[in-house]
């Protein structure tokens, strides 16, 4: 019914956190030049090899996972008529008897989705960092 709301709230929090972390990282880098703001995939890759995975990059992965999931799930809910594009937006809100089951669904399904995506993201980061360490050691040994 409205399970998509919980991951959406998490996505909003992660977006704000990402912006704050990004600003802090730019400050820490000393904003060396204005060209730093142009982030090409090649430049990002070079930066990652030099300094490791930045928190802003890690958070952007979670952000993309959450927003991508939320967007496609919202489409599915619109298709099934559970979400409408005008107030009150959630069809269940029209009938007071449907509000309680909607909240229960949000608590069970929505929270489980948000937790599962976050757990997968943590595993992803763990693997990526290990792979990065392995690649750095390989480059060091090759030199």
């Amino acid at each position: 019914m409205a399970c998509v709301v919980v991951p959406m709230v998490e996505a909003i929090i992660v977006t704000i956190a990402k912006k704050i972390v990004q600003r802090k990282e730019r400050k820490a880098l000393g904003n060396s030049s204005s060209t730093e703001t142009i982030n090409t995939p090649m430049k990002e890759e070079r930066q990652t090899l030099q300094m490791g995975l930045s928190w802003s990059r890690k958070l952007s992965w979670l952000n993309n996972l959450l927003w991508g999931g939320v967007f496609l799930l919202a489409l599915e809910h619109i298709w099934h008529g559970e979400i409408i594009l005008w107030p009150p937006f959630l069809t269940a809100m029209k009938n007071p008897a449907d509000i309680q089951p909607m909240l229960e669904e949000m608590a069970l399904f929505g929270t489980s989705m948000a937790i599962f995506v976050t757990v997968v993201w943590v595993i992803m980061i763990y693997i990526a960092e290990h792979k990065l360490k392995y690649n750095c050691t390989k480059i060091y040994l090759d030199d």
């Binding site: 991951p7 927003w67 999931g69 939320v70 496609l72 799930l73 399904f109 599962f116």
Partner: protein, 94 residues
């Protein structure tokens, strides 16, 4: 069915992303599809254990929804790519 179609799209995009070394920021499209796949996985499994019934809905309606979802993900990725290119060219000219 839409879960299966999205999961297949996620796998195919990941393979392309790996082979093309994230050219055209394919990783964004990967994340969009994987995010939806993970969420639907939880939704389907929980619904199966709590409400019972079929694990996967094999209907034409679900297949059409799957195609719409994949196309929408592609469309969103295209818009993101377009906006990022505009931003980059704007920063270069400054």
């Amino acid at each position: 069915m839409y879960f299966i179609i999205t999961a297949l799209a996620a796998i195919v995009t990941t393979v392309f992303c790996y082979n093309m070394q994230d050219k055209h920021r394919l990783s964004i499209l990967c994340f969009i599809y994987w995010g939806a796949t993970l969420m639907w996985l939880v939704d389907h499994v929980l619904a199966f254990f709590i409400e019972g019934g079929e694990l996967f809905e094999m209907t034409l309606d679900a297949a059409l929804l799957g195609c719409l979802v994949v196309l929408s993900g592609f469309f969103v990725w295209g818009i993101i790519l377009f906006l990022k290119n505009i931003k980059r060219s704007h920063l270069k000219t400054e």
